[in-house]
Symmetry: C2
């Protein structure tokens, strides 16, 4: 983070033809963005939406309203432009990249032991790291993976504590019995993986999934490349939580794109100390909510770079 | 409103490759929009942002942090592309039209009697009516007018009741003494204009301003032309309140683009029964908050028209 660029942006913001603070969060956003990019005047030129897909052994436990084969079918849908995120990325002027992680080899059922081996975890983190376009100037990560709200709830339970009941939600639309089953599966996962509580990475390996690990890898790469990130929903924020629990400030380059309708997401954002830009009741994942927030970033930068100062416009100051 | 088009849109929405309801408010938005346009499949092609400017005799009472000449200076700024709304309209892919209403002839100081004559009110309503592009497929109205949060607070007090203190806010950034002065000016305006309580149009004539009347005229025209409207901030919603108090359902073609940081706006939205799309702490007026929400409408329509159905994409349904 370049404090000098942020200070220059703050100074410019104060000169623009509006009452101080009148653009609300758009002003903070532009200043934050300038600091992360190390540039006082910037426009959004190359946002990237990266969607990661993975499969989960716990789908055998009846935790989802949809069958596991939907993960691969939706990846095809992404590739043919038919999913929500295709439309949302296009509206946002963003490039969409889709990364399927060994869909024919689901991670292991975590109620029976670790979801991934060390090697599998590293490979998934690496896929995420490599997926980031180093020339991107904004990154949104998202996911597709039938069963992964259960995996994310298990991760949240291990990383943040509390009862599984406080972290499970309806996902793609499971009923009350399914919801109770999800909590039981999470509880069984924690019991079967005592090592998950040792370190955040161990939690990710034992309870996560490849797409979740890949998102964590992508967020870490974005930090290294000074690419600001918009966080999507519950599962993305479970991935982000791994980084947050590893190092304080690890998510300073991330903003919350939205708060979803999935029960645990608002709670997770509170733990991460992130206030969402949007709250429109989405609960789809696949980067949709954060992609919808890209135009807010674009607008903040457009105001910051395009507006005239009081002096330039000949407008009397207060 | 064409219920058949809305029903077709609802049916299409249910077929798209997402769990039911997973796009949250985007789904309702697309269905509402289809109903108002009378078309089941639509994209946003021609949104219009119309900004109206007017001056106010009550500026002599010290109700604003900025001098009255700023209204005309900001109109010049709009015309040269230097204001926030220029950047926001561009990001939204919208046409911006600017309408200055007799800036050299402020409406009368309403603490001394009616702000406008009947003829002045009709002319201002007419300006708003004529400003709407009949080919537009979405309308955002906004305003510029030093002193007009005081006028809007007086209008809100007359139309919705309650103490002036409950409706005044800091506008462009007035201090505590100024805030108390605003409430006194509103109280004096209500006392000096007993006829303002007779009808909503009388309230508009006695306590409003030309730009406020023009916004009401534009919203009425949009209704006649079946053009959906996004409402901007406190002053826009004061104008909208005139229509709402004239006829129940008069604002059914309007959504709240955002809720601003101006104290009375959230309260006004409650009275209007409108839930804002955005809440980003803006308090600038000039259509900025609602212009920022245009991409949300664009995204909703893009998902609705561009997504594949389960059958088309070969995705297994729940």
């Amino acid at each position: 983070f370049d404090a000098a660029s942020a200070a220059l942006a703050r100074e410019r913001d104060a000169s623009l033809t509006k009452p101080p603070g009148a653009l609300g969060r758009l002003e903070d956003l532009a200043i934050w963005y300038a600091g992360w990019r190390g540039a006082p005047l910037t426009a959004l030129a190359r946002p990237q939406v990266a969607v990661f897909a993975g499969n989960h052994g716990i789908t055998a436990r009846g935790v989802s309203a949809f069958p596991a084969e939907v993960t691969a079918q939706m990846v095809e849908n992404f590739r043919h432009g038919g999913a929500a995120v295709n439309q949302l990325a296009a509206v946002a002027g963003a490039t969409l990249t889709v990364h399927a992680l060994e869909l024919d080899r689901p991670v292991a059922d975590f109620t029976l032991g670790p979801a991934m081996t060390e090697a599998e975890l590293v490979a998934a983190l690496r896929t995420g790291w490599d997926a980031v376009d180093p020339e991107a100037d904004l990154l949104v990560t998202g996911e597709m993976g039938i069963g992964n709200t259960t995996s994310a709830a298990a991760l949240a339970t291990a990383l943040w504590g509390g009862d599984p009941e406080g972290w499970v939600g309806r996902g793609t639309g499971i009923d009350d019995a399914g919801l109770a089953r999800k909590a039981e599966v999470v509880r069984a996962g924690i019991s079967a993986n005592p090592e998950a509580l040792a370190t955040p990475l161990a939690a990710l390996r034992c309870l996560g999934g490849r797409e979740i690990a890949a998102m964590a890898g992508a967020m870490a790469r974005a930090r290294a490349a000074r690419i600001p990130v918009l966080l999507d929903g519950f599962i993305t924020c479970a991935a982000a939580s791994v980084l947050a629990r590893m190092a304080p400030g690890a998510l300073d380059h991330c903003l919350a794109g939205h708060v979803s309708a999935e029960a645990g997401h608002g709670k997770l954002l509170e733990r991460l100390g992130k206030q969402p830009l949007l709250a429109l009741g989405l609960r789809l994942g696949e980067a949709s909510g954060a992609a919808l927030a890209i135009p807010v970033v674009r607008a903040a930068l457009a105001c910051h770079t395009g507006m005239a100062s009081f002096a330039e416009a000949g407008v009397s100051d207060a």
